[in-house]
Symmetry: D2
C-alpha cells in the first residue's frame, strides 16, 4: 500500500500517518518526492485492507491511497513515479547521460589493470570494472587475487580518475571491499543471497545488482527490494543474459527486460553484453541494441590481451575494439536523445 500525501501536508499530519502504520502492525518507508511525500506501508499482516485504506484516506494531509499489486513495493514505479538517478561523486546513473563501465573480468596484475584503465578511460568509459573475488563454477579455477587485486584496482582508478566497481561475494568481505571501491557489484549467482543483499543494503554504497540467469524479472525486483528495505536506495539493475534452450550463444540477452524494467521500476537499468552473449564478436551489436532499447548504461569486459586472460577471455574486447564500440554506442545514444 502506498500513501500519497498532499503537497501541503504538515509534519504533524505525517506523524499521524506513521503512527497509524505502526499501530496497525506495519512499518513505513518514506519517499521524499520532488513535489510530495509518499509512504510505503510494508509487512505481512492479516488485516482487512479495504477498511485500512479507508482509515488512511480519512486522515488529514492524505491525498490518496494506492494498493500495489506487485510483490515488490519499494522498487516499484507506483511508489516512486519519477526516474531515480543513482549519484556518487560526479557520477550520475539514470539521467540523460549513458554511463559505460569497462575493464577486465579479473584483476590479474598491476600492469594489466593499469593498462586497461588507461585504455577504457581514453575511449570514454566513466567507470572501471575489475574482479578481485571471482565466483567460479569450479573450485579448481582461478578465484581472483583478493585484497592485493583490490589494491591494484584502486590504484588504477585513482591514476585515471575513474571510480571503480567490483564484486563483493560475501557479507564478510564487505568492509574490505568498501575500503577500495566506490561502487559494489552483486553477481548473478548471488542475486538471491539474501544475507549479502541485506548487508549491502545496510552499508549504503551504490550497487549494481545483476540478474541471475535463471531468475525472472520480478525476482530481480524482489532482490532489489531487499537492498532498498534496509534503507539503501542507490541500486542499479543489470540484465546480463538468461539461460534458455538456445545454445548458439553463452546466454540469451533478454532485451525485452530493458523496457519492462524501466516501466515497472524507477531504478536505472544496465546491460552487460559481454556476459549476455559470451562472444566478443557479438558484444558491440548487442551493446548498441541495449542503448537503443533504453538502457541507462553498459558494463563491458575489456582486456589488453584477451587470449591470455585468466577468465572470460573469449568475451573480452581488445582496447581498440572497445574504442570502436564506444563510437558506435555514442551514435546510438544520440539517436535516442542521450549522450555518453
Amino acid at each position: 500500500m502506498v500513501i500519497v500525501m498532499q503537497a501541503s501536508a504538515t509534519p504533524e499530519q505525517m506523524r499521524q500517518v506513521l503512527h497509524l502504520v505502526e499501530t496497525s502492525g506495519f512499518h513505513a518507508h518514506i519517499n521524499d518526492g520532488v513535489e510530495r511525500k509518499v509512504v510505503a506501508v510494508l509487512g505481512e499482516v492479516d488485516i482487512d485492507k479495504v477498511e485500512l485504506v479507508d482509515r488512511f484516506e480519512n486522515l488529514p494531509g492524505v491525498e490518496k491511497v494506492n494498493l500495489i499489486s506487485a510483490p515488490f513495493k519499494l522498487s516499484s514505479r507506483q511508489y516512486h513515479p519519477e526516474d531515480y538517478i543513482v549519484r556518487d561523486g560526479n557520477l550520475a546513473i539514470g539521467g540523460n547521460r549513458v554511463c559505460i563501465a569497462a575493464g577486465p573480468c579479473s584483476v590479474e596484475s598491476p600492469e594489466q589493470i593499469m593498462e586497461s584503465a588507461i585504455a577504457v578511460r581514453a575511449a570514454g568509459a566513466s567507470m572501471l570494472r575489475g574482479g578481485a573475488f571471482k565466483p567460479r563454477s569450479s573450485p579448481h579455477s582461478f578465484q581472483g587475487l583478493g585484497e592485493p587485486g583490490l589494491k591494484m584496482l584502486a590504484e588504477a582508478g585513482e591514476e585515471t580518475g575513474l571510480p571503480v566497481i567490483t564484486e563483493v561475494m560475501d557479507a564478510h568481505d564487505l568492509d574490505l571491499v568498501c575500503r577500495y571501491a566506490q561502487f559494489l557489484q552483486i553477481g548473478a549467482r548471488n542475486m538471491q543471497n539474501f544475507t549479502l543483499l541485506r548487508a549491502v543494503g545496510q552499508c549504503g554504497y551504490p550497487v549494481l545488482l545483476k540478474r541471475g540467469p535463471g531468475c525472472r524479472i520480478k525476482d530481480l525486483l524482489m532482490a532489489a527490494e531487499y537492498v532498498l528495505c534496509e534503507g539503501n536506495s542507490r541500486v542499479v539493475l543489470c540484465e546480463r543474459g538468461i539461460t534458455t534452450f538456445e545454445d548458439a550463444a553463452r546466454n540469451t540477452t533478454d532485451i525485452n527486460a530493458i523496457p519492462i524494467l524501466k516501466e515497472l521500476s524507477h531504478l536505472p537499468v544496465f546491460l552487460d553484453p559481454s556476459h549476455s552473449t559470451g562472444e566478443w564478436r557479438w558484444v558491440t551489436p548487442i551493446a548498441r541494441a541495449g542503448i537503443a532499447a533504453g538502457a541507462d548504461g553498459l558494463i563491458i569486459e575489456v582486456h589488453p590481451n584477451p587470449q591470455a586472460a585468466r577468465s572470460d577471455g573469449r568475451q573480452s574486447l581488445k582496447p581498440e575494439r572497445f574504442a570502436e564500440m564506444m563510437r558506435q554506442v555514442r551514435a546510438i545514444a544520440e539517436a535516442v536523445g542521450r549522450t555518453v
Copy 2:
C-alpha cells in the same frame, strides 16, 4: 563441401566438376558469385571425404575445396560469403536500406485493411502485411477470411503501391495465395512443416521464414535450407521471439540471434517485435534495438483500432504510434549508417 572455382574457370571445367559430383553420388548447387562461381556438394553418401576433396582439388579450374562443418550448407556464409539481397520489383531486402513491413495481424474488412495500408504507407513502410489464413492455437478462434481476405489485401496493396506479404499455411493454398501476394510468409508454427517448405521452395516466390518459438538458430537455418535446396534463394529469416521461463512478456526477443544469423548466413534478417514482445508498449524500443543490432528490416502489427482487433490487438500499434516508431527507427538506422 564447397568447391570454389577459379575466376578464370571455363564452362568445360565447370562441367567436369559437376560430372564428378554426380558420379560420386552427390548433387550440386551452383552459386554464381560476383567474382567467381561456388559449387555446393550435397547429399548423404558414405564416402571417404578427404580423398574426395583431393580429387576435386586436382581438377582444372578449381581454386580450393572447403568442408562445411555446419549442417546447413546452402544457407551458410561459407557457401555464399557476400550478403545476399532479396529483390522483388522495386523491393530490395538486405542492402543498405532497412525495410519495414506493416499492417494488421488479420485482414478483417476492406475498410480496415485499406485504412491500415494508407497509414503505414504514409509513415514510410515499404510492404503491407495482413493475414487471411490464420494459424490459431484454438479451433474455436477466428481463422481468417480466406480468399476474400486475400482480395481485400491485394486491393489495398494496389491502391497504395505497396507489395503485400501474407502467410501461407498449407501447400494446397500456395497457388491461391500467389495469385494475390508478392511475398510469402511461413509462420513460426510451420517452420518445420517440411512439405510446405519444399512447396515454397519450388514456387520461387520470395519468402519470409519465421523462427519457431521453441527452435534453435541452427534449426531456422536448416528450415531455410529446405527452401534453398529446391532452388529458391529468396529467403528472409525472421526472429520473432522464443519461449523461455520469463513470463513478463509473451516471448523473449532473442536479440543475439540477429548478429549470429548475420554471421552464419548471407540471408537477410528481419525482427518481428510485435510477436517477440506481445505488448504494444514495448514494440518501439525493441524495434529500435533490432535495427541497432543489425537487422535488415522489421515486420510490425498496426491496426486502426487495436481494441477491436480480431487477433493480436494487444500487440498492435495504432497508426500514429507506428508513425512515431518509424521516426525513431529512422534515427537508429542512420546511426548505423543505413536508411529506411
Copy 3:
C-alpha cells in the same frame, strides 16, 4: 459451456437444447456418457454468457450448465469426466492395461522391420512402430522409404499380429498411410500443423499426438481439440520431452505433464522416453518413471542394430535390452495396480 442433461432427458428435450445452441450462433458437440449426455457449446460469439446459461438451465431435461474456463473444451475433463478408452480392434488404450508400442525409428528394409517386429512382440509389446515418412531437420538427411516402407511395415505387422502405428506428415499422404496403418502418429514438429490436425480429425483413425518440444501442456490440449472438433475422439496424447536449458540429455522429460494431463483431460497419455532422453542408457529408468507417474503407455525405439540405424540409433534399445525394460516396466505397472 457444457450442458449436463438429466439421466432421464428425452430425445425431444435434447433437440430443444440443440436448437437453442444453434439459434444462439454456437455449434454443439455431444458426449454420450455412461450415465448421462453432455453437450459442449462451442464458438466465438459476442453474447452475454450469464444470461445464456440461465436460458439453458431453464430448459426441461437440463440438469446443470458449467462454464469451462480452459480454452480447450472437448479435450477437457469438465466435458468428459470419466477416463476415455481409445479402442481399435483388440487394442484398448487408457484402461487398466498399459500399452507398449515399439519398433525402429525408420523402416529401413523388410528384414530390419520384420526382425524388430518379432523381437518386440516376443517381449510383450502390443503395437509396432516404424516411420516411412521422416520429418528431418536437414533436407540432406534420410527422409524415409515412403510407400515401400509402409508396405514393409504392414507386412511385419500382419506377420506378428501387431497393429502398426506410423507417422503421417502431410494431409496429402493420409489416404496412403491409412491403407497400411491401423494407428496414426502426428509428430512433434507437426503438433500445430492445423491442416493436418483437421484432416486426421476427419479421417477418424485413432491418433497418437506428440507434444511439440517448445509447446506448453495447454497447447497440446488445444491441438487435440482440433482433432476432436472434427468428430474424431480417438486421440492419445504423448509427452516426448521439451526443450530447456539443460543440455545433458537431448530433451527434458516433462514428467509432471503426465499427472497434469490426466487431471485436465480424459484422453489417454503416453510417454516416449526414447526421444525425451535421447540416450538408450536412460530409456529404461525413464520408462519406469513414466508408468509410475500414471502414463497409460509407452512408445519405444528398438532396433536390431542401433549402430547401423539410419536415424536415432543413439536412443534405440537393442532387442534384449528392450526385453529387460519390459520386465522392469511390468513390475512397476503391477506396483501401481495395472498390467502390461
Copy 4:
C-alpha cells in the same frame, strides 16, 4: 587426472606418488576404495599433461592413470566408481534402502512441528525436515523463526528419534545450526554461494545440496565439488525442479537428472517432488516416478494443516495423504528391488 594404485601398493609407493603430485604444482585427494586407493590430482597448472601421465604411470605401485574430461573431479564416478553411501548414526543414504525425509516447510510452533514429526514417523519417514531460516523471494514474507525454530525442531526430532535436516542459509549461522541439526541442507538459491559451500565442506556435517532451478546438472556437480574439495565427502544431491517455459506447474521436474546424476557421480541422489511440482495433488505420482527412476530418497513437505501454513501450503501433503504416498512409494521401491 586420477591415479589408480595397485591393490598391492605400499605406503611408501603412495608417498612417492603424492610427492610428485605436489612438486608438479597440484594437490591430491585420496579415495580409499574398497579394493584399491585412487588419487585425484587437482589444480590449474600450465603443464604438459601427457608427459605427466607418463611420469606417474612409471612410478612403482601405480596401476593406471586416467584423465577426467569432466570439469568435476571428486564428484565424478571416474574418481569413485562404486556407489557412495552417506552415513550418519543409523542413517545410510545411497544403499538399498530408500530414505524419506518429511516435515513442514517452516517450523511454525512447538505443536506444529511435534505433530508433524509424530505423523511422518508413523508413516515410515526416516528423517524430519523443517526450516528455521527461510530464503524468501520477498523481504516482506515470513523469514522463519530462527534459533527458537531450531530448538523446536530438535525437540521434535529427539522425541520421535528422527534425525533432523534443516537449511543453513549463511556461513555465519553454521555453528548455530550444527548445534541442533544432524543433517544440513543447502537450498536451491544458494547452490552457487561458494562461501557457504566451502564452510559446509569444512564443518563436515552431512549435507543435502539442492540444485538451483536455473542450473545445469554439471553445475550441481561443480557445486558438490566445492564441498568435497574441503574434505567433506558426505554430500547428497537433490533434484527439485528447474525453471522452463512450461507454466502448468511451479517448476519442471527434471526426472532425466536422476539416471544422469547416478551415471556421472557416485553420490546419492534425492528428489524433492513438493518443490518440483508445487502442487500437492502431483506430489505422489512424481514421488513414485522419482523412486522408479532410481532416486535414493525423497524429501517431502508435510503439514498438519496446509491451508494455514506460513509457507508452501499449496504443495504440502496432509499427514494422511503422506501416509498414502508412503504406501505407494513402498510398492514402487519393491518393484525396483529396494526397501523403504
